[in-house]
Symmetry: D2
């Protein structure tokens, strides 16, 4: 795919796979709207006052149908938006087409190369001469990373004239990041510096991205305020848990059509994502074995009737392996060699380094047979036995299926909208310093409340007397900050 920015008749930039899918995308967006009451409520409540008037928002977040509804909520509130995906396989091309045609500048397609991926990220951040963005919606932290690395390089360059050296790292992807920054330095040595000066803040979606932000806060290197959306209860205890409970079997079925009942499934990690995955596999009739480092999570797994063992204990008898850890080097090529023929290996946790893809790809004599896109059989020469790897080790629910369903994403994305509003509304008050913040509990409860009606629920109301008895306001928030749900 030639990397040329295209333009709509109205002059908005974009780069998508196939603009003719825009109508199909629009139809699915309309279906999704019915399933996303939180976002639609935001349009009703805030739309009339156009709070984002003048705000330029860059998003780096899986360009799916659900994200399309998020983007059009932001634009409905007055924002101008540029967008890229945060994963090379996660774009739904019809969603990208519809948004590119109708609402925002999109640079995303399913099956980007890493080179293309970072080109798209650059484009989403490139607001042209007028400058921008004002706000970032981030997922995994790649947009934030690029700016931070860019600023670091520009400062070094200003001080010493040195440019980043891509060969300073082994990491193939980071080499690309450094190359982009190096090449940019020549044409505009202040690009990222201007960005960070203008930036009001970022709201971040994921455990992984949030971890990066807290590290930068701890190191004192965070360049702008950040709101940790991941740790809203209505995000991490819903999207991570119930989203994955839905989309893990979805991805497995679409990619492999394998019968889950009767199989042995290993779930590496029993955090929120792992809990959702283990529940899904158990409910579908698999026998589930969990691997964990944390004794508390391990004990939770045991209480649910799951076995807790190490990967080594079960590697040769399990049928399905799912990584959910947020860490690296979970399933190594040496594990994969010992697996049963056609064992399925996939990742729903984090980057593709949860699975040792590098080790697999470079294993002497290994043969890759692509069954269909995102479903590969890898055959080892010595055993003639193969394993099936989904989405090249990247997030399988986005690579092999369509990610989480609309309803649960409405919870996550309503948090995003509220976080963006909060940053933008307080941009001049100094309320937010260069730190990481969590949304206050009453907003978290509000997000939940917006999603109850759709499911026919009726809440009980406290009397004043009862509220006093447990020392909470009648209208909430109802729980102390440390409450775990």
């Amino acid at each position: 795919m030639a990397l040329l920015v295209e333009k709509t008749t109205s002059g908005r930039e974009y780069k998508v796979k196939d603009m003719s899918q825009a109508d199909f995308g629009r139809l699915e967006i309309e279906l999704a709207e019915v399933e996303m009451p939180g976002l639609m409520s935001c349009r009703t409540e805030f739309g009339p006052s156009q709070p984002f008037k003048g705000a330029k928002i860059t998003g780096s977040l899986h360009m799916t149908i659900q994200t399309a509804v998020l983007i059009e909520t932001l634009t409905a509130l007055g924002a101008e938006v540029r967008w890229c995906s945060c994963n090379i396989f996660s774009t739904q091309d019809h969603a990208a087409a519809a948004i590119a045609r109708d609402s925002a500048a999109v640079f995303a397609w399913k099956g980007e190369t890493l080179q293309e991926y970072w080109w798209c990220t650059e484009r989403a951040l490139d607001w042209g001469p007028g400058g921008g963005p004002d706000l970032i919606v981030d997922d995994g932290g790649d947009a934030t990373l690029l700016i931070h690395e860019g600023v670091k390089a520009e400062e070094e360059y200003e001080k010493t004239g040195k440019v980043p050296d891509p060969n300073s790292t082994d990491n193939a992807e980071f080499q690309i990041v450094l190359t982009i920054i190096r090449d940019g330095l020549k044409s505009d040595p202040k690009k990222y510096t201007r960005m960070k000066e203008r930036l009001v803040g970022v709201s971040e979606e994921t455990t992984t991205g949030v971890k990066r932000l807290y590290q930068m806060q701890a190191n004192g290197t965070l360049l702008f305020p950040a709101i940790n959306v991941n740790d809203s209860v209505t995000k991490s205890k819903f999207d991570n848990l119930y989203g994955c409970r839905h989309s893990l079997p979805d991805g497995l079925m679409r990619a492999t059509d394998v019968m889950i009942a009767g199989k042995v499934a290993v779930v590496a990690g029993y955090g929120d994502v792992g809990k959702g995955c283990a529940a899904a596999m158990k409910q579908a009739g698999a026998r589930v074995i969990v691997t964990e480092i944390d004794p508390i999570c391990a004990l939770q797994a045991l209480m649910e009737g799951l076995q807790v063992l190490t990967l080594e204990d079960v590697v040769s008898e399990a049928d399905i392996f799912v990584t959910t850890t947020g860490n690296k080097d979970i399933i190594m090529v040496d594990h994969m060699r010992k697996m049963k023929n056609n064992a399925i290996v996939c990742n729903i946790g984090h980057f593709d380094n949860e699975i040792d893809m590098h080790g697999l790809e470079t294993y002497p004599g290994v043969k890759r047979i692509t069954i269909k896109p995102q479903t590969d059989r890898w055959v080892f020469p010595d055993t003639n036995s193969g394993i099936i790897v989904l989405a090249e080790g990247r997030l399988m629910n986005l690579g092999c299926a369509t990610g989480h369903p609309s309803f649960v994403m409405s919870c996550s994305f309503t948090n995003q909208v509220i976080a963006q509003l909060e940053l933008w509304n307080e941009r001049k008050t100094g309320k937010y310093e260069k730190k990481v913040y969590v949304l206050p509990k009453h907003l978290d409860e509000k997000v939940a409340a917006l999603h109850l009606g759709k499911l026919g629920a009726k809440l009980t109301k406290l009397t004043k007397d009862q509220a006093d008895y447990i020392s909470v306001p009648v209208e909430g928030p109802y729980k102390p900050p440390h409450y775990r749900y």
Copy 2:
């Protein structure tokens, strides 16, 4: 699609969508083989003796990847095979291509018209001058129906010279059947009579087809022996139950991406299929309401914590409706008009008459919006509210997903192979009269046994003393015929 039979280089007839998908089909067939231990065991056990040598088998059964493994098991045992699908949406085109190229005469593609469907059925039955088939593998009974109707017409024609009148019926599909027979009478007035005389027997897969067979047996009109494969325990208590438990959510997810958790799902019918569907919806976090006519099945639903109500009670508050009854007129257009906007309506039971598609299509002012193939939104003019109908009211797991997974189909299809072998081996002994038979329990137990190793199970063995104590042979069968499992 022009209805012209094509030929492979080896001269075998076929008609499929796209022969270039044969390689992809082959790859998926190879994956499926690993998941179908019962069929592969049949190849190992019976292949060397070529028991089907000389047998011509016609199959009318969803032309999927799993069926491909069945077909190639039949050919591996010596049979010559012609095949069509038993549902206009259920063919997987890559499976059809691989089989057409490599193994058997296939006439099937996804999205046939009814006209095309019956043309394919005729082709599968048409063995040319040499005559045939000897055996039929049937699913739903359409091949059997065509022969029975054909013979009836030929007898009438011989006696009275009268040909069938398509206008004698309201049923659009049956009109096509009569037309085909009428047109055939002119060129060959003994075609079906010769077929029935040669036919050794049929083995039938489904509840619906079996019901037809028992009716013909009761009426004394059954023309050849039939083995009821549906009521093997290893078929009806596995395929119907666990197959649907797998493929209902699969179909829902692929067609609509809707979040099942939190929704209200109505399952019409709580037989084996309904039990599987209700379990799937409950496990995915839906609240399930069952409708039933049979008080025993209703009481079973209650014992599982499901509510039992009538469709009228819940039609306006549920989100997902699934018919599993094997009956007609379950969800009528008047029900559909009262449903919530974007309620999902689908059928996994039987023919498309479980849902009143005719009423819907002819409702004044109704608007059909095709989101994507097999996913239509129907908007009523008065309410401007829409419902989503899957697979045009036909089996949604085959129309919107890929049907049941390989492992459970291996159980069903191993029964088919054993039934075909039994019919063929006994073709000259008179063991089977023109009646409907069930496979003996020791073969049923054998089918199960062939599937245990793949799942790592180890059986306990009775001692002689224990076997005597409960009055069974050490090697089984272990249960009386009336045992319900």
Copy 3:
């Protein structure tokens, strides 16, 4: 306890533990009545016509609160009743007291010796000079056995003058049976012969009892008609399954207070009882391993995510062992020796020979520590490790808890009432020969229907058109006899 028959002020015989518990029993009987809609409907429907007028019914069936409601349903319909328990531990003494005081001749208490047990059975069969019984309600077949053995002995005695020799058998319990018969022969050498001549028939409750009846039918030794109540769907698929799902954890908790979550539970046998037990353990958070001889049941277990192994594979790592097989010699003393300290061993299937109690009791140096009645810790001398055996190897749900709950027993017992009515009403028509019969399906469906209202269910009604389409009567029965539910 001295074995003397006592009499109420009204002159009715009884022998119970403590008549002062009658008021407590009455209160619980009244609670149970609300939970037993099937039995209460029988009283309403049949009570006025007093169909059992003149009938003398002997029951041998766990003398619990639920059985009390059964007995008082029989008396409400006009019968005269004598009763004993069919298990030495299963009597609830307050239920026995209430019935003895108010309604029927009861001979039963919790914790009978085997000697006492058979004395009670004799008493329940002893209707005095007027003769009787006319009908038997049996559970496990002990009343039926005693009569059959008695008749056999009387015939032998008449022919040869020989009396039974208790030393002819190793089985301690059967020695008692023979002793009773031998001793009876002296005083009345025609007692059992007269009984069998008068007897209209027996209705039998359990898998075990039914198996005995079919064996006698096969051998041609069955002395009177029998109705197999066990195989009514509303019995075996409810009582066996849902009853055990309820009462297994109940018994475990009352006996041991052990936390089930996180434990490994082995369920021997995956029939209806085993399915209920496995479901209960899984739901409570245990990891469940099933042992099976039948490949079909084994495959069902696998489809539910349960592991299928042999007892030998897991004997040293499991925490809870439950036998449900209906066979003998399932858990032997050599297994028990290898178990973890304080492993729990119990039987919910059949007689106490599922567990090798004899081997345990006679193991050299073994020490029995009674924690409380029906909960014993047995310590092996070599390992100093102990296991916990419930109810001395007898049915633990009746020994350690209160058996199945009222609602599910209402299903079983309504079948009993209907079976008794059927036998009695047809006593002169010759409809029932000396064979084993199952109740017709419409009565089975009726039993279910009587239990729906209590749970708030509403049935759907077939239209005539729909009924014709599936070839059933509008009012049922809806399923063919071979249908498995």
Copy 4:
């Protein structure tokens, strides 16, 4: 029961129901030890160094078998202990007897009056002339409350000579507290002041008790340091959740023998306790309806397929009502009047004021029929319909069954031991001020780790490289403080 302190032969004080049950208690304590690996590990790790040498510990916590193992862990570590129950129905008399005989001064029996209850609490705090306690183990905060109220009264008395007036409150129980304090003032006007001066701290077990402590901290009235054990993950996410999942059905079964399957169960509150209760009812086959004030918890219930409604919506159709809120006035007498006949009403959350027992007891014409202790049927005069109230509205799992099982209590109580150790070890360092503290995460993880071996679990170990990648120490703690599990 005359309120006279008795003495063992060794001179230790006690007051229990029946000392002859001590042997039975000892046997059950020995069983429990095998199930409480956390406590037993504390004995092994800390016993030799006798860290509690010289410490006088007063406990106010359900005097059950599990608590017995806690008490003997404290004494094994060198402490001297006095104990009372924190609930009038929760004592297991055999446990109390065994501890009184062997290990500590116990004042507790099942079925205390409120008067007796507070007398016991006084006795547990009364260490005689030598003074004490040094530490308090509290559950619900009653011991802490008595000291705080005592000190308040003594201060007022010293200042103004005024004594507390029991008539100043409507609350019957608080009247007793004030009476006790008033009467004590006469004999020793500095008793509680001396106590608070000596007290090193309290560790508190429950949500309710912790809430009181945080209120006192907020008001500045907290008199000594407190460790909030409730909010250890290994307490609130285990005991509250999995403990109740076990003990709710246990209590229901023992009290009523009611079949849970098929019933409609209303769970008021969906916190940790409510989650456990709802899971238990759902698993047992009930249809569960949740009532909630908090939209987040409500949304969680919906995601699990539970209906969320108000009590008013369902009061007349549900069968079982369980309160878990920690608030008051949840089920009022007006609700109870509208319930179905024999609806079951019980509380597993908090004090007996969750249920309007006062309204019920004083309802004109209401009739109380005691089925058995802790199981009462209350009949309303107007409807002649009754409801069944368990444990007089107090914690039904302790009143009707035996509370939570040993294994989960081992988690909770290991936190207690660690908290007590922490307070005692730091008694002179000033580490703990008059505030409420939570145990650090590494101790929480340690508690979990101590419970894994018993369940056969094996943890995965991080490599240094992996630990660095996610920025945690190799040996933990692994999660940030805000992590919700």
